[in-house]
């Protein structure tokens, strides 16, 4: 059985690179996807994830294992950094979904994916992050509430509003979805 994340973090703080990489390997996938979907940029997503992990090693790190799971803390760190960058760029509505489209993606599926990415990018920031965490990262409402520092009821309401908006925006794709997927 592997070491607990808290133990790995203690080892990493003592300079053990293997423990740090183990922690990274266990958690980086969903964090990267979340950062990528939130910012729309591979470069930003990479940097944000690296920064979030490195922040754990800094002396002033606010992570407290008795208050939150490390996964929740890392999602919160990624979210804060992504939102800061988005605010700096001031281009929340200018999502570029093409920089991570794979060549083998089918044309129609790619078109739909672009439409979904754009529709999500057009959501208000508060709804977008909740939708990404709930749908794509499969986090529970309680976890999302911890990450976004909201009440569970507020998270639920934002998620419902986000889904209602998307249902309207993407309604033209509904029959295509049924035929192709």
């Amino acid at each position: 059985m592997g070491k607990a994340p808290e133990q790995l973090l203690r080892d990493a703080r003592q300079g053990k690179e293997t423990a740090f990489l183990r922690l990274f390997d266990d958690h980086h996938g969903p964090l990267f996807h979340f950062a990528l979907r939130l910012t729309g940029s591979m470069a930003h997503a990479e940097d944000i994830v690296q920064e979030s992990f490195l922040a754990l090693l800094r002396p002033g790190c606010s992570f407290d294992p008795s208050r939150a799971a490390i996964r929740t803390y890392l999602f919160g760190a990624v979210r804060n950094q992504a939102l800061n960058r988005l605010r700096r760029r001031e281009q929340c509505g200018q999502y570029n979904s093409t920089d991570h489209r794979t060549p083998e993606t089918e044309a129609l599926r790619g078109e739909m994916a672009d439409a979904v990415a754009c529709a999500i990018a057009e959501l208000p920031e508060t709804q977008r992050e909740v939708l990404l965490l709930a749908h794509y990262e499969q986090l529970s409402l309680t976890e999302i509430a911890e990450i976004t520092q909201l009440e569970v009821t507020a998270v639920k309401s934002r998620l419902q509003r986000a889904r209602a908006t998307l249902r309207e925006t993407l309604t033209s794709f509904a029959p295509i979805t049924e035929r192709t997927i």
Partner: protein
């Protein structure tokens, strides 16, 4: 569009796997502990040696018997430390040689592994 249709549609937006550069970049940025250089302990040894020499010369010139005994005790202690250090170093060097599984060649012919070779040459 019902909830299932919406979920299916949202699932068409796939995120790629994290690139290898993410892990590599993180490794490069990992704050490694600074390796202790040999210069620092050597500096301390130099200071100690200098202090011992100054003390020895001073006591020798003062012709004080009690202080001279003190210096001899100090020197003896110093020799013991040096001997202990030398013994430890010799043992560790022999261990490292043994672990590297050295082979003995005579005229280009493999004679024996270290473990089979006689201890005395």
């Amino acid at each position: 569009m019902n909830e299932t249709d919406l979920d299916r549609l949202l699932n068409t937006w796939e995120a790629p796997a994290p690139p290898a550069s993410l892990r590599q970049g993180l490794r490069m940025r990992f704050p490694r502990a600074e390796r202790r250089s040999f210069a620092r302990p050597l500096r301390w040894a130099f200071v100690l040696a200098l202090a011992s020499a100054v003390l020895a010369i001073g006591i020798d010139q003062s012709d004080n018997a009690w202080d001279f005994r003190l210096v001899r005790v100090f020197n003896r202690y110093y020799e013991l430390v040096i001997e202990g250090f030398e013994a430890w170093r010799a043992t560790s060097i022999v261990t490292q040689i043994r672990q590297s599984e050295p082979k003995v060649y005579v005229d280009g012919q493999l004679v024996a592994h270290w473990s089979m070779a006689p201890a005395a040459g």
